[in-house]
Structure formats: structure tokens, C-alpha cells
């Protein structure tokens, strides 16, 4: 049962203590660009989780015969294959989301979280732990994206999941769904995370 316990530990670590967005500060570009509504944040998080899962499994499977000098190109090809799958899948089944996320779907290839997990974790650990790591990091990333996009959607648009919550008198602060609001939300949230973890 030891390995199940360790998998759970790895999963929790990805969600909280090593949260890719707030603690490792990786994958900033998509986190800021698409967090304008909770639906977009969730879609992006799921897409990245799928790619992370696929690439971690593949990298872990081939880890014993990957020459160390050629490892980065190999990782990149594995990752971009899964990204292409996601791209074609969203285009066919969720065209609205595909349009909203725009070039940030193909840009999952250069999302540092995925390459970092392949390099640091999956290329050294057995497949079960790599799956736990991918799921933990993916869920951590999705939750972080949903938190940021919830704040921005509520303040900048006065809605949550597309439903108005403040009534007709609320005058939305449009700047929150534009670029400056994204940077501001991210800065304050990372500051808050630092404050909470330092106090313990």
C-alpha cells in the first residue's frame, strides 16, 4: 500500500505546497491571458491537464532509453503531439472554447509547467508516480486559473459563470478583464499566498 500513499502525497503536493501558478510561478502567459471568465479558465486548465497527463506518461515510459543529450527535443515532440490532439479535439467538439482560447491552445507546447514536469519528475520516476504528479499539477493549475478568473469575472463583468450577481445597478470595473487587471490580480494573489504560508 506504500505506493498508493506516496501517490496521494505527490498529488496533494502539486495542488497546494508546490502549486504551479502561485508557488512555482510557472505557466504565467496562459494563466493571465485567458482568465477573463471562469469557463475559459476551466477549459484551459483541463486542456493543460490532459497534455500534462499524456506527456508525463509517455516521458516516464521512454525514460530508460532516452539519450540524455537528445532529451529536450524528444520531450518537445511528445508534448506537441498531445497539444495537437487537444487542438483538434476542442475545434471539433467545443468550437466556442476553441475560439475564446485562440492561440493559447497551441501555445500549451511552450507552457513551462509541462516541460518542467517532464524534465524534473517524469524522466526520473516510475509511471504511477508520474500520473499522480501530472494530476496534482493539473488540478493545482486548474484551481489557480479558476480562482483568478472568478475574481476577474466578478469584478470586471459583474457575473459568475455568465450569470449576473450584483443586480442592474452594478457598474463593472472593466479594467479587471483587461491586461492591467490580470497583472494586478496575479501580483496580489501571489503576495497573499506568501503571507499565508509564512505565518504558519
Amino acid at each position: 500500500m506504500g505506493f498508493l500513499f506516496r501517490s496521494g502525497e505527490i498529488f496533494i503536493k502539486g495542488v497546494w505546497r508546490e502549486n504551479p501558478t502561485f508557488r512555482l510561478v510557472l505557466g504565467m502567459c496562459p494563466s493571465l491571458a485567458i482568465s477573463t471568465s471562469v469557463v475559459n479558465g476551466f477549459g484551459m486548465g483541463m486542456a493543460a491537464t490532459f497534455v500534462l497527463l499524456g506527456s508525463n506518461i509517455m516521458v516516464s515510459l521512454v525514460r530508460n532509453f532516452t539519450p540524455s543529450k537528445a532529451r529536450i527535443p524528444i520531450f518537445i515532440i511528445i508534448i506537441s503531439t498531445f497539444v495537437t490532439i487537444v487542438e483538434l479535439f476542442t475545434e471539433a467538439f467545443t468550437p466556442g472554447l476553441h475560439k475564446a482560447l485562440g492561440i493559447f491552445i497551441p501555445l500549451i507546447v511552450v507552457n513551462c509547467i509541462i516541460l518542467a514536469r517532464a524534465e524534473i519528475f517524469a524522466s526520473r520516476e516510475p509511471i504511477l508516480y508520474s500520473i499522480a504528479d501530472a494530476l496534482g499539477m493539473g488540478v493545482g493549475f486548474t484551481l489557480a486559473l479558476m480562482l483568478i478568473s472568478a475574481i476577474r469575472e466578478v469584478l470586471g463583468n459583474g457575473t459568475i459563470l455568465g450569470r449576473p450577481i450584483f443586480g442592474p445597478d452594478y457598474d463593472p470595473a472593466i479594467v479587471m478583464i483587461l491586461a492591467p487587471g490580470a497583472f494586478l490580480t496575479m501580483g496580489l494573489l501571489i503576495g497573499l499566498m506568501n503571507y499565508i504560508t509564512r505565518k504558519r
Partner: protein, 193 residues
């Protein structure tokens, strides 16, 4: 001609890659601690973005389109960019070691810079011609350089400021970036009719 000028100014100032399109944030935050390094990074990114735009344009219209392989663009573009960066590094090591020393450590990092892949994808999506593609790539790099230089100079001064412990590092950098993005909004009236 008019369209080219519009593309150039809009990509440098209005749709700045870092401050309004959120592309290339990792090097923007990582290498903006000191203005000398920031300038080297900016120049390296400008060079790679211009050349990568041109190279991927040729690959797209002379290789992917004739064989109807457009759906492979993500894989092909990232491989072309990675190979190109490797090639530039080898040429530089042979021809000008001084330049390689200055840009050395930044070049491999550029492969995973999303601004480079981003500009290649945007060029194809917008259906730009070769000249427009080149201008877009060069302007994008220039906009990145402007943003990272401004950021580096502000951060050099921030070193002497009394910032709360939990806001040091990334949080305060994000808030400064927010202010920068705000002030770049001022350029939006540039081309309005």
C-alpha cells in the same frame, strides 16, 4: 505601405506582446533584474523573433499548405524554431564569440519563449504577406525590448524601496507590470478614426 506602418506601431505600442498579449512573460520577469542583461535578452529575442517569423512563413506556405498538412503547424513550428535557435548558436560560436558570450545563456531559453511561437502562429492566422510577417516579427521583438528595459530600470530602483516582506520578488513585479500595462493604454487612441 500604410498597412505596414500600422502593423509596426500597433505591435510595438498598442498590442505590445508582453503588456497586452501576455506573451513572453517568463523572460520578462526572469531577466529584468538588471538593465544590461535585459537589453541583451531584448536584442536576442528581437533577432530570433524576426528570423523565426520569416523561416516559419516559408515552411508554412511552401511545405505545409501544398501538402495540406496545416494541422501539423504546432509540431512543425516548434521544431523549426528549436532547430533555428540551435543553428544560430552554432554560427555565433564560430563567427563572433564575443556576441555569443553576451547572448550565450539567453539563446537556449528563447526556444521556450512563447512570444516566438506566438508571433509565428499569429502571422499565419492573420494571413500576413512575407513583408508584413517580417515587420510583425521585428516590431514584436522591439516591443518586448522596450517593455523589458522599462521593467529592468524600475526594478533597479525598487531595490532601495521598503516593500513588505511577502510582496518582494514576483508580487511587486506583477503590480509594476500592471501599472506599465495601464500606461500603455494611452497609446490606444493612436489609430482611432
Amino acid at each position: 505601405m500604410e498597412k505596414i506602418i500600422v502593423i509596426f506601431f500597433s505591435v510595438v505600442l498598442i498590442n505590445n506582446f508582453v503588456l497586452s498579449r501576455f506573451l513572453g512573460l517568463c523572460p520578462f520577469l526572469g531577466v529584468s533584474r538588471e538593465s544590461g542583461a535585459a537589453l541583451s535578452m531584448g536584442l536576442a529575442v528581437t533577432f530570433v523573433m524576426t528570423m523565426a517569423s520569416i523561416v516559419t512563413w516559408f515552411f508554412y506556405y511552401f511545405f505545409l499548405v501544398p501538402y495540406q498538412l496545416e494541422f501539423l503547424q504546432t509540431i512543425v513550428f516548434i521544431l523549426v524554431i528549436a532547430t533555428f535557435v540551435q543553428f544560430v548558436e552554432m554560427v555565433m560560436a564560430k563567427t563572433s564569440p564575443a556576441l555569443q558570450e553576451a547572448l550565450g545563456i539567453y539563446l537556449p531559453l528563447i526556444t521556450t519563449n512563447c512570444a516566438v511561437l506566438g508571433v509565428s502562429l499569429l502571422n499565419v492566422r492573420e494571413g500576413y504577406s512575407l513583408i508584413e510577417t517580417t515587420v510583425n516579427g521585428f516590431g514584436g521583438g522591439l516591443g518586448f525590448t522596450v517593455a523589458i528595459l522599462l521593467m529592468a530600470n524600475i526594478r533597479e530602483r525598487l531595490e532601495f524601496c521598503d516593500i513588505p516582506e511577502c510582496m518582494k520578488g514576483f508580487p511587486i513585479s506583477f503590480i509594476v507590470t500592471s501599472m506599465l500595462a495601464f500606461s500603455f493604454f494611452g497609446f490606444q487612441g493612436f489609430f482611432s478614426k
